[in-house]
């Protein structure tokens, strides 16, 4: 009797919410339901894979771990990969929810497991669905600076990504046969029920998929302007606009949050030291102003997916390192002035230090840096994530 209830529930739920994945003219065809699920599944496979690859890249850029070398060119590469990461994540939200809707009746499948393999396949859905929801939820919440969870965002999001990719591999393996069937054959019944005319007037499968893909595209377009600057006016759903902020672009950490709203310029020194310098340097603000200046147009590309290009002017890092007698193969660490340990240091590889556009910037768009943008000096260089464009630079330690 229990199984009878499940069967009835399952049959009723094939018309969940009045939207059908199978028409009533013909007996319910498992191929039809599978078709919707298959199309959405493939779309999700694509978006999640791209999201994973770009996310993994971002992780490696921030935590290189010895073997990974992130180049200084092209200057806008990180801006593109991280923009793609956030956008594919956002676009996945409608696709994921629609997919879950399409397969919801299968939750009530009876018997729950036909074999051990089937049981494992179904169990793998828990990390897949829960993990997938976690990734998009934490991603969207994190870029909105909303973190209602106890775990640390980066380790949690990163580990969940691997878990989900593993579960997705299991899922694809389990479903590859059904998917091929569902997409390959055109069931004869299709001729009797042209998808345009659904007997009860609700959305049919084609209409449903069009709506979902259209909505996914729409939310993408309404968010992507946070990194694609010409589309900035279309930003309706994203938490940043690349043209809004002091001196015309956004701020991540404010000067107030690190107690650097006022900087005593008389006391300020930019120190260049470390085991690999031949001459230690201790430069005042006036020294920096007097040094040869170089201008570069470079983007700030935040890890949170927004980016904004500005015109920077300052002293070439390479010039200062030359003055300190530093070899061109040396690696350095850049330190911010503030006490806060979080995001205080950034690595500066030889490739980045040697690039002609890697500057210790004193001006942005012909104005001295605002306190929120790192007054008196910030590091700016091509192809660096925002967290590595250190603000309020106090010291460069050349380590070897």
């Amino acid at each position: 009797m229990v199984s009878g209830i499940w069967v009835v529930a399952g049959r009723h739920l094939d018309t969940v919410g009045g939207v059908r994945t199978a028409t009533r003219i013909t007996p319910r065809s498992p191929l039809r339901d599978e078709r919707t699920a298959a199309v959405l599944g493939i779309a999700l496979g694509v978006t999640f894979s791209i999201c994973f690859a770009t996310g993994l890249l971002s992780h490696l850029v921030q935590d290189p771990g010895g073997w990974f070398h992130w180049p200084a060119r092209p200057a806008g590469l990180y801006r593109v990969t991280q923009g793609v990461h956030i956008t594919t994540g956002i676009v996945s939200i409608p696709l994921l929810l629609a997919k879950l809707w399409a397969v919801f009746p299968k939750l009530f499948e009876w018997p729950p497991a036909r074999s051990v393999a089937h049981a494992l396949e179904r169990l793998a859905l828990l990390p897949l669905i829960g993990g997938g929801l976690l990734l998009v939820f934490t991603g969207l919440a994190n870029i909105n600076i909303y973190r209602p969870w106890a775990f640390s965002f980066r380790p949690g999001h990163y580990a969940a990504a691997w878990v989900v990719m593993g579960a997705m591999a299991v899922h694809i393996g389990a479903k590859i046969h059904t998917t091929r069937q569902a997409l390959g054959r055109h069931p004869a019944e299709a001729i009797e029920a042209p998808s345009a005319a659904s007997p009860r007037g609700g959305l049919d499968r084609r209409g449903f998929l069009t709506t979902v893909f259209g909505a996914a595209g729409l939310v993408g377009v309404l968010s992507v302007g946070q990194t694609v600057e010409p589309l900035a006016r279309l930003v309706v759903l994203a938490p940043r606009r690349p043209d809004i902020g002091p001196q015309g672009f956004p701020v991540n950490r404010t000067a107030r949050s690190v107690a650097l709203e006022e900087v005593d310029l008389d006391a300020y020194r930019l120190v260049i030291d470390g085991p690999a310098v031949r001459r230690q340097l201790s430069l005042t603000y006036a020294d920096l102003l007097a040094a040869p200046q170089h201008t570069a147009s470079l983007p700030i590309a935040c890890v949170e997916g927004w980016s904004s290009s500005q015109r920077w002017r300052g002293v070439r890092v390479r010039d200062l390192l030359d003055r300190a007698g530093v070899d061109s193969s040396a690696e350095s660490v850049v330190y911010a002035m503030h006490e806060s340990e979080r995001l205080r240091t950034a690595p500066l590889s030889a490739a980045h230090a040697n690039d002609a556009d890697t500057l210790l910037a004193l001006y942005v768009n012909d104005e001295p840096l605002a306190p929120d943008h790192g007054f008196p000096v910030r590091l700016i260089g091509p192809n660096r994530p925002g967290v590595h464009q250190t603000k309020w630079v106090g010291r460069i330690e050349v380590v070897g």
């Binding site: 828990l126 580990a159 609700g202 049919d204 994203a238």
Partner: protein, 124 residues
């Protein structure tokens, strides 16, 4: 999958935080199955009953699109950030989202009108 689990355990020595991640994964699964999906079913049934069949598909499409727009825009709409950084969630999201919703339903209404005209022409 195991790599991910290992990564997480390695990076998070704090037992309470570890438990939090697992709670969130399970919790989101349950929230979908016990809250979100039933609500969608009920709304759908409501629409199926209350909305005349000739516009039902368009209404469903507009509802689905509207829901996704509002869902993705929920954090800025709710103003989840309340600190002193004015560049975070800097615009008036309510009115902006409202404009988008009006556009969605406007397109929907237009498609109903266009369809009806086309059907009338076919009958003639």
């Amino acid at each position: 999958m195991l790599w991910g689990a290992w990564l997480y355990l390695d990076a998070t020595p704090d037992a309470e935080r570890r438990a939090s991640l697992v709670r969130w994964i399970v919790g989101l699964d349950l929230a979908h199955d016990l809250l979100l999906a039933p609500v969608v079913v009920l709304v759908g049934l409501g629409v199926a009953r209350a909305v005349p069949s000739r516009v039902r598909a368009v209404v469903q499409a507009c509802l689905i699109a509207s829901t996704f727009v509002v869902l993705v825009g929920l954090p800025p709409l709710l103003g989840t950030y309340s600190g002193d950084n004015a560049t975070i969630q800097p615009i008036a999201y309510g009115p902006a989202v409202l404009v988008v919703l009006c556009l969605i339903w406007g397109v929907g209404a237009l498609s109903v009108v266009v369809n009806r005209r086309r059907q009338r022409r076919e009958v003639q």
